[in-house]
């Protein structure tokens, strides 16, 4: 029982350092306040304990003191708030160009799929020093993707994508937990994130069975479901042209403009009449219930891969682009 008895979690990602810094500051602040209150109570209680001749002196109170111990805590709290908010912004804005992992959570297992098509259950192999962005959805109840070593946690909701990102800084094997109660095996829905050196990661990649890349299987699904009949890459078909759609601003029929991110693509596949692109009629059939989560994530990956210059060759800059220096997340 005593062989492995840590008192501090491993620090294995870029944001872990800043989270720990704020945590240590708050621990010191709380320790100082608790000890101060504890000492004051014991000193007052003992110094003015009830004994003969110890007459209590009535003190109404002092407004200055009240204002100081309202304003000072408030000022300290605002500092903590701003510091916490800065870290939160870093944690919630995935850097552009991060490698994407599609995560589908279902009652009591994690299904993870890499860009290149590798599928993993309850395991995630990533190279060290590479930005990784998880695009996650759930097939049933609310789960929560939690890796203590990276200090990241993000609930995974049914019916919608949520994203989380990290950049591992230390090779090793770290716990993956489900942090939102999801039923009988909630405590069994755990796994491992294996961070490897780039070379080791290469070996693992080639060793595994060859899968078609996600965008590839997305493309075959795109043809199979007949999407290409309306969404033509070259001419103006009955549906909007999808090349270069991802990340662009889309003008809708009812005047709103939205940014075409994963949730927009997903909703437009499942319930097309919700956001009709201006100039088009709502004739696209509803795919809710016809497309599984895996097929949906493949389609979304394919649509995202239709960038103007690479409209022909499928495959965004996944994890395997050797030689490309790990991009610095734009601050």
């Amino acid at each position: 029982m005593f062989d492995n008895f840590p008192l501090w979690p491993v620090r294995a990602s870029t944001t872990a350092g800043s989270v720990d810094a704020l945590y240590i500051f708050l621990v010191l602040l709380s320790a100082f306040m608790s000890v101060a209150i504890f000492i004051m109570i014991t000193v007052f209680a003992l110094r003015y304990r009830r004994r003969a001749g110890q007459q209590a002196q009535q003190i109404e109170g002092s407004n200055i003191l009240e204002l100081t111990w309202s304003a000072v805590p408030l000022a300290v709290f605002m500092v903590i708030f701003v510091w916490g908010a800065i870290i939160f912004f870093q944690e919630r804005t995935p850097p552009r160009g991060a490698a994407e992992i599609y995560v589908v959570a279902k009652q009591w297992m994690w299904k993870l799929q890499h860009e290149e098509g590798h599928k993993e259950i309850n395991e995630l192999h990533v190279p060290v020093g590479r930005d990784v962005k998880m695009i996650m959805t759930s097939q049933d109840v609310i789960h929560s993707f939690y890796v203590p070593a990276f200090r990241i946690k993000q609930d995974v909701l049914p019916g919608r994508y949520t994203t989380a990102w990290f950049r591992a800084t230390r090779p090793g094997t770290y716990h993956l937990f489900c942090a939102e109660y999801c039923g009988t095996q909630h405590s069994g829905m755990i796994g491992q994130v294996v961070v490897m050196e780039p070379a080791q990661y290469q070996a693992w990649l080639t060793g595994g069975a060859a899968f078609g890349s996600m965008a590839g299987s997305g493309e075959s699904m795109f043809l199979q479901l007949g999407c290409s009949t309306c969404h033509r890459p070259d001419t103006q078909g009955r549906g909007p042209n999808l090349v270069g759609l991802f990340g662009s601003k889309v003008q809708l029929e009812d005047g709103r403009t939205v940014v075409a991110e994963e949730n927009y693509i997903r909703e437009s596949i499942l319930n097309p009449s919700a956001k009709v692109v201006s100039g088009f009629k709502p004739i696209m059939p509803v795919f809710q219930g016809l497309v599984s989560e895996e097929q949906l994530t493949a389609l979304v990956a394919y649509v995202k891969s239709l960038t103007p210059q690479a409209s022909g060759a499928a495959g965004t800059p996944g994890l395997i682009s050797p030689g490309k220096p790990p991009q610095e997340p734009k601050e």
Partner: protein
Amino acid sequence: MATAVSIAPEREHYLNKEYGIRSWLLTTDHKRIALLYLVSITFFFFIGGFFALLIRLELLTPAGDLVQADTYNKLFTMHGVIMVFFFLIPAVPAVLGNFLVPLMIGARDLAFPKINLLSWYCYIAGGILVLHAMLTGGLDTGWTFYTPFSTAFSNTAVVEAGLGIFINGFSSILTGLNFIVTIHRMRAPGLTWSRLPLFLWSHYATSVIMLLGTPVIAITLVLVVLERAFHLGIFDPTRGGDPLLFQHLFWFYSHPAVYIMILPSMGVVSEIVTCFSRKRIFGYYFVAMASIGIAVIGFFVWAHHMFVAGMSLYAALIFSILSYLVAVPSAIKVFNWTATLYKGSVSFSTPMLYVFGFIGLFTMGGLTGLFLAALGIDVHVTDTYFVVAHFHYIMVGGTVMGYLGGMHYWWPKISGRLYPEAWGRLAALIVFLGFNLTFFPQFILGYLGMPRRYWQYPPEFQVLNVLSTAGSTILAVGYLLPMVYFLWSMRYGELADDNPWDAAGLEWKTSSPPPTFNFDETPVVTWEAYNYDELPTPQEVHVEQ
């Protein structure tokens, strides 16, 4: 210990005025209703506590080897439901509040005595429903009932337990209604708002939360029940329902509910700290307004429970900054209590020990709340044992300490007997030690990343869990002691005179236990609150046995 039981001439008071089941089950006397609540609350407290012990025993070992996964999920769900809805929310308001509000105001009873009895019957009806749900298969949704698990994926008695909590909600609403109308309409002549005891200020603030918060969880649970029973689709993600809508509606009540739990205990602490240091409260106006501030701002902060739930980034910022505002009134209260001790004449009777424990533990609980309100840290520590430790420090370290302190302080007034002082101090010490050993390791566990509600956990967390389980057994002993010696004192305790602590306040102006109509003639208040300079200083109340 065998002090001779002095046979005082039997004076008529609310306990011996009438006997028999009917005199209890059909009473409209606020004091008897308070005792009805006392019995039923203690019953539920020991059930919830028993579940807590089972949970801690299961977590002694990393593997799930004491109970199965399903049973464990039902254990922590029922521990949560029973402790939150059937002990912590009603404890201080329904027992001490019901007994003392009319006495402290100088009235003969609450504004609506029959509604007060109806409130207890709602509590019992809700309790029976939840107990029946528990006995016939249990509930495994967690006390938070998150959808779509509670509406579509749980096959346990969600409908029955939901209706039980819904009916129990009326008990809170009716109690809150009674207190507000009584405090507004039935104050004794001369008892202006600035002379009101702080116990009443905190119960007034609590009643505001009860009245304006409880209906929202009532409608939320009704919608969950309708969705399970008649396939309505309000929370169903497959039909486009938003899983976060339930969380907004649930936490809109459930966060102010934690202030329903702590505010009354704060009132108790204000009464005790002034009496046992023979001094006026430091900054009366600020402490009173802090209670109202907590009640109002408490309604603006609920979504700090949802920072990682998929809420929008900017809304998280808004709720984080508001959560820091609500921390300020609590800080004011702690500083004012500590300042009240200065230049006082401090005695170390049992109620005061509980107050020292309360101030210390509530301070730590409040400070760890700052961790959770900081967005960056919340991402790491929410849904882990850090949160579990935080809210137990506030609920068990705060509310239960305040409740026990209040029970000891007003026990002579309630039962006409004195509790054994030595045993009282021993129990207070055991509770304090057991509590800290149970919940402090959980802070470390939380930051290490052990998630909540886990039936099995990785082996490296075992040592801290063993410490926590050890602490829980000590805490259990600490809670059993008062149960024993309070009952003992009912029969053999020394007879208490009207004002054993020489305390200020109208409730000490009438006899202990008070007559059914509280006062022989309507009292007139001419003194300021906590006028301990005009009261005789008591010689040490209890001769050390």
